[in-house]
């Protein structure tokens, strides 16, 4: 209950800050008093539409006689989520596999970990067009290329956290498994993986949002898709004449991210027993 109240409270606070800034701007004429400095972002409706206009835009038709904007955006979200979830699952499995490989073989860790880290220093905005355009040339459907971007953003946090988590059991527990002559596979599944799960789920939550961002960025260069990336681009182009639509689309994109994180959290609740859950 407290959570719901605080969530709504914070939401209202954010709306109040947005609208308050606009009111302040209107009162000051868009200039900080005593200076020549213009308020940025400009508090007018062209640059910062009212929150209620954004929400209203969602429920108005995207075009005359058409479906409402929200239904168009939900269809687009489903399209983007498909790529994101596929990439997320592949990335999650890949990251988990890498983590296990690294903890089993120090040589593998020393050989490959630097490259895993280096892979994340490449800006995704530079990589996305290459992956998607080349994927298209190889005859892959464009949403597969987009899923690859999501994989790329997902596997890293999972690999690092899996590695960390697999090493987290106390020395005494490891000693005990050894004294029972447990095979490495048994130690892995009965001791290390259960201990690593809270770490892995933390990584999965980070990755869930990252995979959606990755899918949206991946859709931008391809343009074949019908996902959120294309919708955002189109509304960005039409920002001059209808700014509230772009903000509405951004809202829906972030809700899609929250929805995905919520799914992962639900899975965490189902998998990890209450006593061992990390509240976050």
């Amino acid at each position: 209950m407290l959570r719901v109240v605080s969530f709504i409270g914070i939401l209202l606070l954010l709306v109040a800050i947005w609208e308050g800034y606009k009111l302040l701007g209107a009162a000051l004429g868009g200039q900080w008093p005593g200076t020549e400095i213009e308020m940025k972002p400009r508090p007018d409706n062209q640059n910062m539409p009212h929150v209620w206009d954004m929400v209203a835009a969602l429920f108005q038709p995207a075009r005359r006689g058409g479906d409402s904007l929200i239904s168009a955006l939900l269809v687009a979200s489903a399209y983007t989520l498909r790529s994101a979830v596929l990439g997320f699952v592949i990335g999650g499995l890949l990251g988990f596999g890498l983590g296990v490989a690294f903890v089993r073989s120090e040589m593998a860790e020393r050989a490959f970990l630097p490259y895993v880290v280096a892979s994340q220093t490449i800006p995704i905005i530079a990589l996305a067009p290459i992956v998607v355009v080349w994927g298209g040339r190889l005859g892959l459907p464009s949403w597969m290329g987009v899923a690859l971007i999501s994989t790329y953003l997902t596997f890293f946090p999972v690999a690092i956290n899996t590695l960390r988590g697999l090493r987290s059991p106390e020395w005494t527990a490891t000693e005990m498994f050894r004294s029972y002559a447990a095979r490495p596979t048994e130690t892995l599944w009965k001791l290390q993986v259960p201990a690593a799960l809270p770490y892995i789920f933390t990584a999965l939550k980070v990755s869930a949002t990252a995979s959606i961002v990755g899918a949206i960025v991946g859709e931008l260069p391809s343009g074949f898709g019908e996902g959120l990336g294309r919708a955002l681009l189109q509304f960005n182009q039409a920002f001059t004449s209808d700014p509230s639509k772009l903000y509405a689309a951004v809202l829906v994109a972030s809700v899609a991210g929250i929805f995905f994180v919520a799914l992962v959290t639900l899975a965490e609740w189902l998998v990890i027993p209450a006593g061992r859950r990390v509240e976050n």
Partner: protein, 403 residues
């Protein structure tokens, strides 16, 4: 017992996820079918080429009978919008099919350059602006213009009516927006031609917000797109939409630095094959027929375009098609046939003012008119109006946000 069960649950969940995802893939059949078609089209292409070879010999009678249509791809410069209405009409109204073609329209995007797609064989036909394509040719893309669809340029430089900017000279000392990426050449040429001092060139995004905010004094706009967006925005002072009187417009056609825009390009090596010349002629016939149809039935074409883009605004697309028709019609030598004078003018401006092309000799092999001429002759014999001499622009009422 607690711990093993955690692992089991984890594994079960992973299995469920993978299964769920597989089901998901199967569930979105309509999408999946569309995607497999794409890949099928790519693999089919090799077979299509071989059949084209055999039908090539009998191309005379091939127009009436069609066993296997030739599969080709058309690469656009941007997403579906009325700028490409003629091609959507030709596809959706069966004009391509009637001429034994199966055309897949590839939408453009931010990083998609049709000239490069053509050069690498990713599509058979591509839409590009002449100056941009000439720059691509100079950097090694061996492409040929087979049809000049737009006879006029749609580029404007827009400023506020109260800014006093009425001709290129007035840009002196002002901040002038442009899009870059090869969309700025007409502006740069005008600045050089009029020898305008102290122009501060500003990179502009693809919206008009910077002009409305008065962050820049002039902004680049296409008649059919960004200019309409200005007129779809609400003036905060009156609460009404902005009116044309609120803005000053400099039209590069009048300035004299206009260069040819949307045209159809092909890979030079590909068009070297006679069978592909036949395919191209049929492609042009159907595409031109599509444009003629859109000139005479704009409402139908707008709805075809709207079907291709779920978030496009209707009045905006109506405006766009109207303005696009103005750029095509009247077509002096028949739609798509390159006018030598206009080509020479574009080349002259391009080689004088575009840094990458200065002093470059542009070969006349960069374009050919024979295919378009044959297509136009064929359409005339079918009774289709290919010059649109009687075309008149209609009045389109814009609504807020272009809805």
């Amino acid at each position: 017992m607690q711990r093993p069960s955690t692992t089991t649950r984890f594994l079960a969940l992973m299995a469920a996820l993978v299964l769920g995802l597989a089901a998901c893939g199967g569930g979105t059949d309509s999408d999946a079918a569309g995607e497999t078609e794409t890949t099928a089209a790519v693999t089919e292409e090799t077979t299509a080429e071989t059949t084209a070879d055999t039908t090539g010999d009998t191309s005379g009678e091939a127009t009436t009978e069609c066993e296997t249509p030739d599969t080709v791809r058309l690469q656009l410069q941007w997403f579906a919008q009325a700028q490409f209405a003629g091609y959507y009409a030709a596809r959706d109204l069966g004009f391509y099919e009637e001429r034994c073609l199966e055309v897949e329209i590839l939408e453009g995007g931010v990083d998609i350059v049709p000239q490069q797609v053509l050069a690498s064989g990713g599509a058979e036909f591509g839409i590009a602006w002449v100056p941009k394509a000439l720059v691509s040719r100079q950097s090694g893309a061996d492409i040929v213009n087979i049809a000049q669809v737009f006879e006029r340029s749609g580029t404007l430089e827009v400023s506020w009516a109260d800014s006093g900017i009425e001709s290129p000279e007035d840009w002196a000392g002002k901040t002038v927006g442009n899009w870059g990426f090869g969309n700025e050449y007409e502006l740069l040429a005008a600045i050089e031609l009029f020898d305008v001092p102290d122009v501060e060139l500003i990179g502009q995004d693809f919206t008009m917000t910077a002009l409305l905010n008065r962050d820049i004094d002039a902004a680049e706009a296409m008649t059919y797109n960004e200019y309409a967006q200005l007129l779809e925005a609400v003036d905060p002072e009156t609460g009404e939409l902005y009116q044309p009187e609120d803005f000053n417009v400099i039209d590069f056609n009048e300035v004299g630095t206009a260069m040819l825009q949307d045209s159809i390009w092909v890979n030079a090596e590909w068009i070297g094959d006679e069978a592909n010349v036949d395919i191209s002629q049929r492609f042009l016939e159907a595409s031109f027929q599509g444009w003629a149809h859109c000139r005479d039935n704009p409402d139908e074409c707008v709805s075809l375009v709207l079907d291709a883009g779920p978030t496009l605004g209707q009045s905006h697309q109506e405006w766009m098609l109207n303005e696009i028709s103005v750029l095509i019609w009247p077509a002096s030598d028949g739609i798509g046939v390159m006018n030598q004078e206009l080509w020479d003018q574009s080349v002259e401006i391009a080689t004088t003012h575009i840094p990458d092309l200065q002093g470059v000799e542009i070969s006349d092999e960069a374009f050919r008119t024979d295919i378009a001429e044959a297509a136009v002759a064929q359409l005339e014999s079918e009774g289709i109006d290919v010059t649109g001499e009687g075309f008149e622009k209609v009045e389109v009422e814009l609504t807020e946000g272009g809805e």
